[in-house]
Amino acid sequence: MIQAFSLDPSSLALWCDQETLGKLASKESLMEAVSACLFDTSDVVERAVSLLPHEDDKRLVRRLAGTIWHEQRHFLDLMLTNYGAFRVRQFLTLYVNMGHLFGAVRSGGDTLVCPLDAYLDPVRRHLLGIDHVPEGVQQIAKEARDRESMVRNERQAIPFAGQNLAFGGDAQLEALGFLFQQGAVSNIFGADAFADLEGTLPHVERNNLRYRWIFLVADALGLTRESSEGRVDVDAAFLGALLIAGLASRRWGQEQSHTADGLGSGYCAQRLKGLFETLKKMSVEPFQDPSKSWEQVNEAARLTFGRTVVEEMREDYAREEKWLGQVLALPGLSENVSLVCKDYHVLRGRLLKLFEEGPLFFTDPLHYSFGLVSNLKPITIMSAPGGVLGKAPKGWDMVSGYQEAGSSSAEGFWWWSSTPSEPEREEQTLALTQWKAWIEIIEWRAPIAKLLMKGRAHRTQFGPELIAAEMRLKAGGTEIRFDPLFAFPRDMRVESSAFFLLTGKAQAVCDVCRSNVLQGSGWILSPWLFRKHTRLAQQAIEALGGGEIGRLKFIRDWSVWLVCDVCDAKWRPLTES
């Protein structure tokens, strides 16, 4: 429910939550250092951090820099790797099909049901009273469901090192993000700063298997060693190569290759396990020259699945090129959709070329830290879920906002998200170039795709974007309704531990009664909870001052609420109807 940075796979944009950031780093000098992480080179970041007077501030910015580099790695891998590209095309395909889908729904005078997969299931159709499926919708829904099934199959747990691990495509993307985040922090700020940062992480973070499962693989392959200071080092360059090989999944209905144990080339988890078995037999030399590690992994892929990693990537890209040709030939395709599909494919081609010329910039954290990370520039979106009154700051363009019709009040106009006005790019910058077309995607096609995939039930989402997309659809003549099981996010009321873990504070102020909320007490309420329960919304409006101002503040406020146990007990009955 609370994130400072996230990379949205639907638009490849890096979202920064300025309110969460503000809770962490309120001083201007800190925000400048964070801004350097987003927009400048690593040496500028290093200098900005060194100028900070307090050790705590330095530590915080290093930590934030690490999370930004983690997201930038996602930006890279979503285009470089076959699995990542498949995940992006999951969304692009929906953008391509949207015009046709809405046309089909409107022409039959139907209401669009979200998520789309409800159309495919007789039990859910019966429950939702869908007596016929508009022509053309079935095919689009089936395509979206089939792609989602592939992602779901990636989450199948596989026995490994005495545990059942779900190390499919998404887990491998996270492991890459984590390894290269750690590598960049260590290389750019120094090993001591890195050790200091690791030492201050909460226990739950230090043992977090979501990212650290890759260390089990490292251990089983003998890719770890104890340093003289008693630290356990891992051969991250080998792991980087291995993960890229795992993510080189064979898609597009190609004939699959299987190991004697039945592990196939099409799924990332099976690929990783297959590669692991082969490498065990090849005997791996830990901490060798990273180029040798890469060669060994590339060869292991050939021995295991009949193609090297590079061959697998080339084939994937060639097939994507054909797909793109078919997409661009579609009659009536929106110009912006056509532009973003091409733009993404071109940047992917550039990355693959760079990869073939210098794989170490992608597999080895040291090369990556000084030769690549500063060039990765996803479109940055600054979000303010609480809404900021007035226009977006100078040099920034509004992406989403609101103006109350007929209101001249200063409280009646605000922005929720904004992006730097089109930035200048240098030759080596690795960025999407069709900026305006991507902003249109971010503004409404991506949120609509999310509604089509899972209604409003997403873990990471920005409320105003979904509501704006719904309103836009309605204004265009497409009525929408939700499967009730996907009409709202799950877990709209959670314990406050995440808030305290994130901010490192021991106490905070209740958003309702302003009393102190101590760590270990209190609740976090999702803004959706207020949108779901009218009586709770009324209470919130009162808590925000009541009247017209309270109402406008409520419409504006999509931030989470921290409430004390007493207020929670008072409000909870209002959510039980």
């Binding site: 609370i2 994130q3 400072a4 940075f5 996230s6 990379l7 949205d8 796979p9 639907s10 930590r63 999370t67 930004i68 983690h70 997201e71 996602h74 995940r87 969304f91 997969d117 495919l120 299931d121 007789p122 039990v123 859910r124 019966h126 429950l127 792609r147 989602e148 992602v151 779901r152 989450r155 199948q156 747990a157 779900a166 998404d170 993307l173 996270e174 993000g177 984590f178 985040q181 909460p202 739950v204 973070e205 977090n208 298997l209 979501r210 990212y211 999310k450 995939m453 039930a457 997403h458 873990r459 990471t460 989402q461 009730p484 099981l485 009409a487 799950r490 995440a498 873990l501 994130l502």
Partner: protein, 116 residues
Amino acid sequence: MHAKYVSFIASREAIQELYAGEAEDGIQFSEPVAMESPADILDAPIGLGEVKVVLELLTVAINTTAAGAILIERIFDLIKKYQGLQVRIQDPKSGRELGRVSVKTSREEVARVLAS
């Protein structure tokens, strides 16, 4: 008896097993659906990266009382098999949570929830 519809949310393994079980008269399953959204991934580890159980959802039409009883047995078989398993029961028509089944829940309680 009119068909009674309920949705179960639990770990992927448990839902898949429930779905793959022998087809009984009087029970009709929807396709299992992932609860995780494809748009959910890729947030940075800054304090909140706990491991999440991958959840799936299965909606069931129960057409006879006997079928309801069989379903309850199947759920308790899963509870016994998967340590720590919790099954959330929701009303698919409203999305409202009806109850949760864990090792501490009795068959009678579940029967009451299904009959509600």
